[in-house]
Amino acid sequence: MPDEQKSGTSSHGGLLRRVSKGRKASTGPAPQELSILHRKKFGMSFYGWILMPVIILLAAITLYPFFWMIVKSFYHVATKPGQHDEWVGLKNYIGLFKDGLFLNGWWIQLRYVVISLVVEFVLGFALALFLNNLKRTANVITTIILIPMMIAPVAVGFLHMYLFNSSFGWYHWFLKSVGLLSGGSILGDMEWAMAAIIIADVWEWTPFMALIFLAGLKKVPLDQLEAAKCDGAPPVKRFFDVVLPNMTSVIVIAVLIRFMDIMRYIDTIFVMTTGGPAGATKTVSYYLFDVAFRYFEIGRGAAHGFVLLLVTIIIAQVFVSVMNKSRKGMAR
């Protein structure tokens, strides 16, 4: 009973607590208020019954492939009919760490991720501050700005492949006209190729960061700002002392989601450079595609994928814990 009183402010929390109490008291006839919502049929409440088929479906389509991958990562998988899978122990994993392309792939991935994130963060924050300045036109302008987010990564790739083309691309023309570019081809140049991919990513996803930050800016408590203003804090100080600390969780969420999406998608690289020139844009995600679907080395691909997945899951764990905190913090 004291539990319930404590959660009086949030009806939902109250409900949950009542349920958990109902579960404990499942042997005897439950009190009336519990039985209305959580009467059990065949040992499970209504909520359990509607959740279960969904969990089973999701497990079938995600857990099964997951364990399949772990098992196959210890095999040399047959690709021709008549052959059989051969147990090789840890050979696939050891092979990974002897593979220069795999190791270099992490380095390329890291550069891609860090540079994109930093640029998108800075531009996104600036954009959010400017958007926050708007009054009447804000809605129209944000709608225009977020258009790139809806575009398929493949299309973004081709759009930029066209723009960066060395004989008729407008970005190429622009860079030449400004005098930034001395060489001939952009996508054929070891350094410029990665820059081009990052520019495509920045073009598509900076608005995403900007809109998240804008949502964060709108939630900065007004009383704190007012107090800082009364104390005579200059705008810059107000920004660092009041605005930024209030936006920590929003910033972490934006950065982590972008991080995971950059790990998720290889479409733009596939379209713009196919990992080239000379492997300069062959990120570790992209390299997995090569291993599995170009060389058809399934066992090694499985090991590769498992390592990649582990890294992502660890980061997802961080993401969820931050998100849960922010959910509590941002509850209306």
Binding site: F46, W68, M69, N133, I147, A155, F158, R264, A292, R327
Partner: protein, 307 residues
């Protein structure tokens, strides 16, 4: 869909934004001018690639390839000098079979979104209202399936589907899309159910409605805008997907993104049709995105951030 629950916060938010305007900024003309300049530049940068592609799709190849000499800034205006032609679009449908690709994309994305949202609504409601042992673990597992890199998911799926004979079928593609759409929609719709005041449902129980009736007649209609937004986002993700379609869809379930990559052959890149295909690929999704504009950020952050 126009339920009071959704209308009220909007009003509150707007007035709050107005108040805040007066506090954070001093509205100096200089600040206003900088804002206008920066945002204009950004919008130009956002729209220019799209404009160039859109114009390229209705130009002849020769007109599309014409750029002025380097440094000739006035020559930029020549981009508008052309006579419109639909020849590239015609070619897409007559020679490249884009009609079928659009159909495949539609069936796969709508089919998968329908499964994901139907199941997702059930699961989300159960997860939101019920209390389970290890609920945190279930939630984490659900979201982590969504975080997995697409390439990683594709490797095992390809071989499992190969064994089941589901490669190159639309069914296979729908199931593949469901792997990421289902977890996404459970997580997102759960957020919408969490937002509903549970008292309404409790009142219905007191009136003697069954669980199912309460779910169907009260919870789902109240969360409908969120459910629709989830559906639209699922369609958007699947329609835009390339990797799953390329690997699992194979030869007989090609979608538009796969069709586009085929316009780049080893010999040449068919830029005219490619630009037209890009337009076909992106226009419907831009329209859908604007339609659910209000829920876009909440959707793409899986409910972590609300506007």
């Amino acid at each position: 869909m126009t339920v009071d629950v959704t209308a009220a916060p909007k009003k509150r938010k707007r007035s709050k934004a107005m108040e805040q305007d007066t506090i954070i900024k001093k509205r100096t003309p200089l600040a206003q001018a900088i804002t206008v300049v920066v945002l204009t530049l950004w919008i130009v940068w956002t729209l220019a690639p799209l404009l160039i592609t859109a114009l390229g799709s209705i130009k002849t190849t020769r007109e599309a390839f014409a750029t002025p000499t380097y440094g000739d800034w006035r020559g930029v205006a020549s981009i508008f000098k052309f006579s419109p032609t639909m020849v590239h679009f015609e070619r897409l449908f007559s020679q490249q079979g884009f009609g079928a690709y659009i159909w495949h994309g539609l069936v796969a994305s709508v089919g998968s979104a329908a499964i994901a949202v139907t199941m997702g609504t059930l699961g989300a409601y159960g997860l939101s209202r019920g209390k389970f042992k290890r609920e945190g673990d279930i939630s984490f597992w659900i979201i982590s399936t969504r975080m997995a890199p697409a390439v990683v998911v594709i490797v095992p799926l390809y071989y499992i589907f190969k064994g089941l004979g589901m490669l190159s079928t639309l069914t296979g593609l729908i199931i593949a899309y469901t792997t990421f759409n289902l977890s996404f929609s459970i997580w997102l719709i759960k957020g919408f159910f969490d937002d509903l005041p549970v008292e309404i449902e409790e009142a219905a129980f007191v009136d003697g409605d069954s669980h199912w009736a309460v779910f169907r007649k009260i919870a789902v209609p109240l969360a409908a805008p969120g459910i629709v937004a989830s559906f639209v986002l699922c369609v958007l993700f699947s329609w835009n997907d390339f990797l799953f379609a390329a690997v699992i869809g194979g030869h007989s379930a090609k979608t538009v993104p796969v069709g586009i990559t085929e316009l780049r052959t080893t010999v040449e890149v068919l830029w005219g049709p490619l630009n037209s295909a890009t337009i076909i690929l992106i226009i419907p999704m831009i329209a859908l995105g604007i339609l659910i504009r209000k829920y876009l950020i909440q959707g793409l952050t899986m409910g972590a951030v609300r506007e």
